[in-house]
């Protein structure tokens, strides 16, 4: 089954999201902070008449914060709410060659939690990332 992948760059790496999970790619207009929310929440933004909860992809990986980096965001509906996932850059949508396979080695702290496996597309190997896990954030690891 050919799966469509959205290729983006996060924490300096090129990663793939299942395109079926992604509603849109947008450039955010304005970001209102949400004080005392979970640390990986960058704030709130609006898309048309909906409130987007903006998730800082870097903070979700516990790899710092993406303050001041390009505001490309992937819009992902999850659990009845709509989220905007901040990434460094959105590159392309491509077709996967084969289903994902489990990685053979540990990927590193943040990545293990969000990984859906490795996936090959157009001759390159990407890490397939579960956007819902990114949204759940570091706190979800314990559960």
């Amino acid at each position: 089954m050919a799966e469509l992948l959205l290729i983006a760059r996060l924490a300096g790496r090129r990663i793939a999201f299942p395109a079926a999970d992604v509603e849109a790619v947008v450039e955010l207009e304005g970001l209102s902070p949400a004080p005392r929310a979970a640390p990986h929440v960058a704030g709130l933004s609006a898309l048309r008449s909906r409130v987007l909860t903006v998730i800082d992809g870097l903070a979700a990986l516990e790899a710092g914060r993406s303050d001041g980096i390009v505001r490309d965001a992937i819009v992902v509906p999850s659990g009845g709410h709509t989220y905007a996932l901040l990434v460094e850059e959105v590159e392309d949508v491509i077709e996967a060659n084969a289903p994902p396979v489990p990685p053979r080695a540990p990927l590193g702290q943040g990545w293990d939690r969000v990984s859906l496996g490795m996936i090959e597309a157009e001759g390159e190997l990407f890490l397939l990332v579960d956007p819902h896990q990114l949204i759940a954030g570091p706190a979800a690891r314990a559960a």
Binding site: S32, P33, A34, P35, A37, R48, S49, R50, H81
Partner: protein, 781 residues
């Protein structure tokens, strides 16, 4: 009423339609319990509603069908073909009657009896064949006054209009950059106005004050209590809470059921209530409030409560529970059995509410809209049922405020007052690390929103504003913000869990310019800031717990009351031990003074010249720490913290002086004069029995001891002899002592639950050997 009856018609028609599948399935398999329950619920609901709307024919029919079905449910009779047919015929007749009700026609009532007779097990007559339901042509006979829309459609309209508003705002910004053109501006203004009107209309189609839900209750309560020979006082609060229309409709039936149950099964007859030491008139409180992102509707009665054990044995008898399962249930779980289909502790089945069946319908309906029903009951003391439903898509009037340029919204319902920091009305004092604001003599904790949110304040203290907030179920506190902007009507949606986890927010919303705004949760903020308030503060005010008010402003907290002759007087709350109703028979002239007998003691009675005519007298028990006197009065007006500006009395007397409250004169009692005149030294103590308490237990020291003392007992010093010994669960006691044993668990035997005040008082009185002796001593001595 018209609106309600239209709703009833539409709803019954919808339900009958939805049920037709179940009826067919039941006909095919009469043993199918789920179908049976579904049909049973339908006739039960019709019975309830028709009782409410006074439609006797519908009520008779549905009651008969319900009784027959109940027998099937209880396994007392099989669901044979004759019964199925008879029930179907009744359901069809209900459909016809409802249709007739709508179009204003009449349906012959001759064969109602026959239909009902067919339901009885002995029915010899062949059951009527269900007629084909009348075709749709009758529907066009009368213009329909309302239509029902799916909420999905309304949602789409709503979000469409929200988009239109944002697009208009965008257009407005663009237009401002262009050279002015009067014609375009006029056209734009018209579009703006249209959008605003549409938005308003759609908003209103969705929202309704919860009043409309409460409107039917007084009548319902009146009729029910009259039918049952009970006396019930209904108190409804929070009717101005707004709720999604859909939600209100979904809650209407469950609420009616709950109220019915409370009156029918909960509240006892006046004589029984008197025996149990409760006021003759039962109390039923219905309240609605918004708490965080939920609306909570609470129904509390002071009736007999739910007997968890009786429910368990009923459930065992019906085979719903095994013995092991029953043993593992907690008290709360036992009480929650009341929600199981077919369970009830009601001894008899009445036409009013029935067999506890309402409760499974209640829960099913509430859960369908994502809500929760909590039940809390103490046997003998009543039931408190709380329906919690989510606040999705509710419109909240809110105030927008900002901190360092960032906007937040505060629900207007929680806002008491907005003040300027540098205005004369407020004083702010640092107390340790915290701050306390004094607003016209009333001290309230101060929470800085910037500190709470962990952001820097963008304004100097003088420019800041103070908002007095009164969250539902809590006490007033002051919130410091940088600036107050505007009142807006906001459509609130729940925020993402990662945002809600902050505990500060009730939801998110979009302002008119499309910015996202977080709605602050007033009680959540208080909790986060560590300001704790006790729930039900108001109730406690009138009982014993004025501790809070006292602690805040001891010297100025006054109880305002109306005297027996109608005057307004006040007394410092600190002097008031408790407020009590005493029977007039307990009042008498003895030793030259009016006195009142209270729990084995005799207190001097002030405030009235002679025993009043009424059956009961309400008294304040005033204490100076040593002696007590009673002061008769008519009613409590308020409890207020005031800065006294007293105009002294010309001559010393009962009144120390007068002052102004809300522009009216109030006389302040002179407690010193009262005590000097009335309290003959030692009069109270002579008959105080002595109580020994367990030592070194904080609960005893902080909670029990004050209660025991307030009841007029003296506490024995360690080692002293005592009349009564109060012991905790596992404490060893001498065998010859008069022991009152307390337990921590609500249920149990041979001891008194430690929060059961009435039982404790009773047990103390019973264990009191000295009472008779002491009284006897006085007579002889």
């Amino acid at each position: 009423m018209d609106e309600l009856i239209n709703d009833f018609i539409a709803e019954t028609r919808d339900m009958a339609q939805a049920l037709s599948g179940a009826i067919v399935a039941w006909e095919a398999a009469p043993d199918d319990r789920a179908r049976l329950d579904e049909i049973f619920r339908f006739v039960h609901t019709v019975k309830g509603n028709s009782g409410f709307f006074d439609l006797p024919r519908l009520q008779q029919l549905s009651h008969a069908a319900e009784s027959a079905l109940a027998e099937v449910r209880d396994g007392k009779r099989p669901a044979d073909r004759a019964l199925v047919n008879a029930v179907l015929a009744v359901i069809d007749r209900i459909g016809e009657l409802v249709q007739a009700l709508e179009s204003g026609e009449s349906v012959g009532s001759e064969d109602d009896e026959q239909l009902i007779a067919a339901l009885s097990p002995e029915a010899a007559v062949p059951a009527l064949q269900p007629e084909a339901p009348p075709a749709a042509d009758t529907e066009s006979k009368k213009a329909v006054r309302s239509i029902r829309l799916s909420v999905d459609l309304l949602d789409r309209m709503m979000s469409g209009v929200s988009d239109a508003v944002l697009a208009r705002n965008e257009l407005a910004r663009r237009l401002r950059d262009l050279p002015r053109d009067v014609a375009i501006e006029a056209a734009f203004d018209r579009v703006s106005q249209c959008i605003a009107e549409i938005r308003d209309a759609i908003t209103r189609t969705r929202m309704q004050r919860i009043d409309s839900l409460f409107a039917g209750l007084p009548r319902l309560v009146r009729d029910l209590s009259a039918d049952l020979g009970k006396q019930v006082r209904l108190q409804a609060d929070g009717g101005d809470v707004e709720m999604d229309r859909e939600m209100i409709e979904m809650i209407r039936d469950p609420l009616t059921h709950i109220v019915r149950n409370a009156i029918d099964h909960g509240i006892e007859k006046p004589e029984k209530r008197e025996e149990a030491g409760k006021p003759r008139i039962g109390s039923l409180k219905v309240s609605a409030r918004q708490a965080g992102n939920q609306i909570i509707i609470e129904v509390a009665d002071d009736g007999r409560g739910i007997d968890g054990e009786a429910l368990v044995s009923k459930a065992r008898a019906l085979g719903l529970l095994t013995a092991e399962q029953a043993d593992r249930l907690s008290l709360a779980q036992k009480q929650a059995l009341v929600f199981s289909a077919g369970l009830s502790t009601a001894g008899e089945v009445t036409a009013i509410s029935g067999r506890g069946v309402g409760m499974d319908v209640v829960r099913a309906n509430i859960e369908r809209i994502g809500g929760v029903v909590d039940i809390d009951s103490r046997l003998g003391h009543g039931v408190r049922l709380a329906i919690r439903v989510p606040l999705t898509l509710t419109i909240i009037p809110a105030l927008t405020v900002s901190v360092n340029g960032q906007c937040f919204a505060i629900p207007r319902s929680a806002i008491d007052e907005i003040l300027r920091v540098n205005g004369g009305a407020v004083r702010i004092d640092p107390v340790g690390e915290a701050e306390v604001a004094t607003v016209r003599g009333r001290r309230v904790p101060l929470i800085g929103l910037p500190e709470l949110l962990g952001v820097a304040s963008g304004a100097s203290r003088d420019e800041q504003r103070i908002i007095l907030l009164k969250p539902a179920g809590g006490d007033v506190y002051a919130l410091l913000v940088d600036a107050v902007h505007d009142h807006e009507e906001l459509v609130v949606k729940p925020a993402a869990p990662a945002v809600m986890s902050a505990g500060l927010y009730a939801g998110t919303t979009l302002a008119d310019d499309g910015r996202p705004i977080l709605l602050l949760d007033p009680s959540g903020m208080a909790k986060c800031a560590g300001v704790h308030f006790e729930e039900g503060e108001l109730d406690r005010h009138l009982a014993a717990g004025t501790e809070q008010a006292e602690a805040k402003a001891r010297e100025t907290t006054l109880l305002l009351f109306r005297t027996l002759d109608g005057g307004r007087r006040a007394v410092p709350v600190g002097l008031v031990e408790r407020i009590e109703d005493v029977p007039v028979s307990a009042i008498g002239f003895s030793a030259g003074k009016l006195r009142v007998a209270l729990g084995g003691r005799i207190l001097p009675l002030a405030g009235c010249a002679a025993a009043p005519e009424a059956e009961k007298l309400r008294i304040l028990r005033l204490t100076d720490g040593e002696t007590e006197i009673a002061y008769g009065f008519a009613e409590v007006i308020d409890i207020r913290a005031l800065v006294l500006d007293l105009q002294g009395a010309a001559v010393p007397g009962e009144v120390a002086g007068a002052f102004l409250v809300d522009g009216a004169t109030v006389e302040l009692l002179d407690p010193h004069w009262l005590f000097a005149l009335h309290a003959d030294a030692g009069a109270g103590q002579a008959v105080q029995p002595i109580c020994a308490l367990p030592e070194g237990d904080p609960w005893v020291d902080n909670m029990l001891r004050p209660l025991i003392e307030s009841l007029g007992y003296r506490i024995a010093k360690a080692g002293d002899p005592a009349d009564i010994l109060i012991a905790l669960e596992n404490q060893e006691v001498p065998s010859d002592a008069n022991v009152v044993r307390l337990r921590a668990a609500a249920e149990g035997e041979g001891s008194v639950y430690r929060y059961d005040r009435a039982a404790l008082i009773g047990a103390l009185a019973a264990a009191r050997p000295a009472q008779g002796a002491a009284a006897g001593d006085r007579k002889h001595g």
